[in-house]
Amino acid sequence: MIGSFPKLLSATVITLKLLSLSLFFGLFIGLLFAILRMSKNPIINKFAYGYSYVFRGTPLLVQIFIIYFGLGQIEYLRSTFLWVILKEPYWCAVIAFALNTGAYTSEILRSAFQTIKPGLIEAGKSLGIPNKVIFYKIQIPIAIKQSLPAYGNEIILMLKGTSLASTVTLMDLTGVAKYIISTTFKPIEVFIVAGGIYLFMTFCVHNFIKFLEKKYGFQT
């Protein structure tokens, strides 16, 4: 049992890699779609709304299966350059996770943008600051601060979501735990250790977000 601990730890590295890559791409997707959501053009607006509606309204597991097993069935796709990426389970998982977390992030950021007091933007305008600069220097920093608690939650949800990568053959923490169980037949012990590692990671994320919240304050 103790012998399996290093194996679980090295699998944790893959879990963390999946998480950070997904969050990195997800943040960009989220920011882009949050901006699109606030567009006055109804087509762009509806498109962004549709994206977040679909990805928040379907289970992550289904999304992974559609991207991994579903797209793999389309023969035409296999002859295109896209197959280089979609052939790898790793990238399929990252794409699914990034699209999923992107949808949630876009909603978190949109609501943060919309709660910014109009007075702050008007103050910028009265000082003659151009709109672009107002957006980058006033709206985005405030929105990020506003959304920290909710985004921290999203990181934790995503961390646990990465366990679904094991369903598309990736040997992440859950995948390796299952593999060890298949040779030792001791599900309780192994899953408790794996669960403990997840809990520790959640603990770290939680405290890091708390630290950021304290440091950058919540006063706007």
Binding site: F69, G72, Q73, R78, K87, P89, T167, T169, K178, Y179, I181, S182, T183, F185, K186, P187
Partner: protein, 283 residues
Amino acid sequence: MNKFKTLGLGILISFFLTISSNADSIRIGTEGAYPPWNSKDASGNLIGFEVELANELCKIMKAECTIVEQDWDGMIPALLMRKFDAIMAGMSITAERQKTITFSQGYADEVASLAVMKGSNLEGMDTPEGINLSLGGSDVKKALKTLTGVLAGKTVCVQTATIHQNFLDSGDVGSVNVRTYKTQDEVNLDLASGRCDAALAAAVAFTDYADKSGKPVVLVGPTFSGGAFGNGVGVGIRQGGDDAIGKRDAKLLKDFNKAIDKARKQGIISKLAIKHFGFDASM
């Protein structure tokens, strides 16, 4: 409030009643995703060789049986946790599994084989038709050497926690890139999509898939038996003990062995094997 309490108590009692009413019947666990051994029809009913064989064996034992579905990767843990009393899921009798559970005598045996998509450069390997790893010898050594060379750097897909995975992990064919899946269905899907260079499973699992899907899946290389591939497929049962449940398990093992003897003599196993495999896989 009292109404809720009564309702809660009622639900609790009926829950325990359903459990205890099953206490005397034999619960048999199967996967339902490994045709033609065991699978499900379109409406979700369990079908296949082992489902029919289980019913025949229960008839011989004059026991009431329930067949329970269980994911393959949790099969042995579920048996140990008494979710059911016996496994009939195409599970080969291997020394590794016998450390944890016990097996009845084998009721059927079937060789394993590599499969690729038609047109793969793995086709036309120069190997004997079949090798038995238990026998060893120069033929086996030569075949394994050929396989090691051909499979180097290739991705070979298998279902998790199977004899096929054990064989690839054993290093007999060098260090291939092993990819594991929860079910054989998923292995087949990724073989067809081209994510796997080859797949390893029971030969019938591939021929069955090729027949049903119409995909050009072909068997290559030698068929495998013996060694890591075990000694046939048997009924998996908990190891007996001195307490009441342990004694019941020990008796169950005896009953299954007797029933299998009888079914073999009456030709039931052969008949079912021919029906589902297309050849006599009984043993």
